[in-house]
Symmetry: C2
Subunit: 224 residues, 2 copies
């Protein structure tokens, strides 16, 4: 996108892969591996070797020719590049099934993201304890964001409430939002929004699944 000048620009497609490499490298480190070639890393990450090398070259990684990359050093570089040198604090808006699952999801904390607040509007949910946190009222959002230094907001409310949740987060100064509501959100260009629509992922699978059985007989599941 319109990355301002200043630092080298890394293509979006490459950025999306860096976390995968990071994850693979952590596994390698656990196994005690000291170096890794682009080919080995590619195999683990499910991409090809040239892509790995180019992706890493975007931020001036230095492998050793004839040997490969130093696992520990590459982890350090990736951590710095991905901004994982400190924990990022997140707040979750919406304490339904999904919000609750996200709040207690161990995978976040392990990878440097700490959920420091969960809010909802439903009195039934406010006060309940989820993943070590007490669900707060949505009106507390501003104070939670300010006091706990929140950088990322996660939207896990029904679609009809998602835009309002976004507006509130933005008002509170949050500029990075992960949206799980199946709706397109409006916000200033300053605000980064990533959408994860779980049903869309299934629809994409269904699309391909449906295509391969053009020739298949009466095998398709019958209507519910």
């Amino acid at each position: 996108m319109a990355s301002e000048d200043g630092r080298r620009a890394i293509p979006d497609a490459a950025v999306a892969r860096l976390p995968v490499y990071h994850r693979c490298l952590l596994d390698l480190e656990t196994e005690g591996r000291v170096t890794v070639s682009s080919e080995q890393l590619a195999e683990m990450a499910g991409v090809n070797a040239a892509k790995v090398r180019k992706d890493l070259s975007h931020f001036g990684s230095y492998g050793t020719r004839g040997v490969g990359y130093d696992v520990t050093q590459l982890i350090i570089d990736l951590r710095r590049e991905l901004g994982l040198t400190h924990n990022w604090r997140c707040v979750i808006v919406g304490a339904g099934n999904l919000g609750s699952a996200l709040a207690s999801f161990a995978g976040f904390r392990e990878r440097g993201f700490e959920v420091v607040g969960v809010v909802d509007v439903d009195p039934q949910r406010i006060g309940r304890q989820i993943g070590g946190l007490v669900v707060g009222h949505e009106d507390e959002l501003a104070s939670i964001v300010a006091e706990r230094d929140v950088a990322i907001g996660v939207i896990a409310v029904p679609p009809a409430a998602a835009q309002e949740a976004t507006d509130r987060l933005v008002e509170c100064g949050v500029r990075s939002i992960l949206n799980f509501a199946p709706t397109v959100l409006d916000a200033s260009d300053e605000v980064q929004i990533r959408n994860v629509d779980l049903a869309i992922e299934l629809q994409i699978l269904a699309f391909h699944e449906g295509r391969r059985s053009d020739d298949r007989p009466a095998d398709a599941p019958s209507p519910a």
Copy 2:
């Protein structure tokens, strides 16, 4: 050039957007709208108008020049194209926080995906009721897939168990898998796998967030 095989080929990038259009059209239909222009639909979907037109043209949609697309007809075409003319049955492997949330996630059923089974290996979880289903033992997978005509498997187990879960699903004949475990899965090319790594989504946000403050105070060390 387009591969001149049996059916029309739709670019992957376009396929990923069709469900978004579908979702927007459902909203339009609810509002009682009869027609929609590519520009209006683009605005709702958060893309540009030329893209909408090209995407729809891939499967021979027919809008009316001077007027736009017939909302109801376009929904029908998209449903057919996306294979949403019947419900898809899904089984979830892993009944932890995430698996449980997915099993009771209303958004799936609304969009044509029915969760017909949830299994786990943990005796503590087996027998529990989640979203109207009783959690089964993982050994029941084969019978659930066969008897309930499951087409899609959802993996919501810890990374260390994900490959085994995949192998089991594939053995049972499942050829479309949605993987929430943060690990790259191995399977034959026949099997389609889509990965959703929630922590990666946050990492991508963090990357951009970290970039916009080059002049960050105490956090970013400046390496040579």
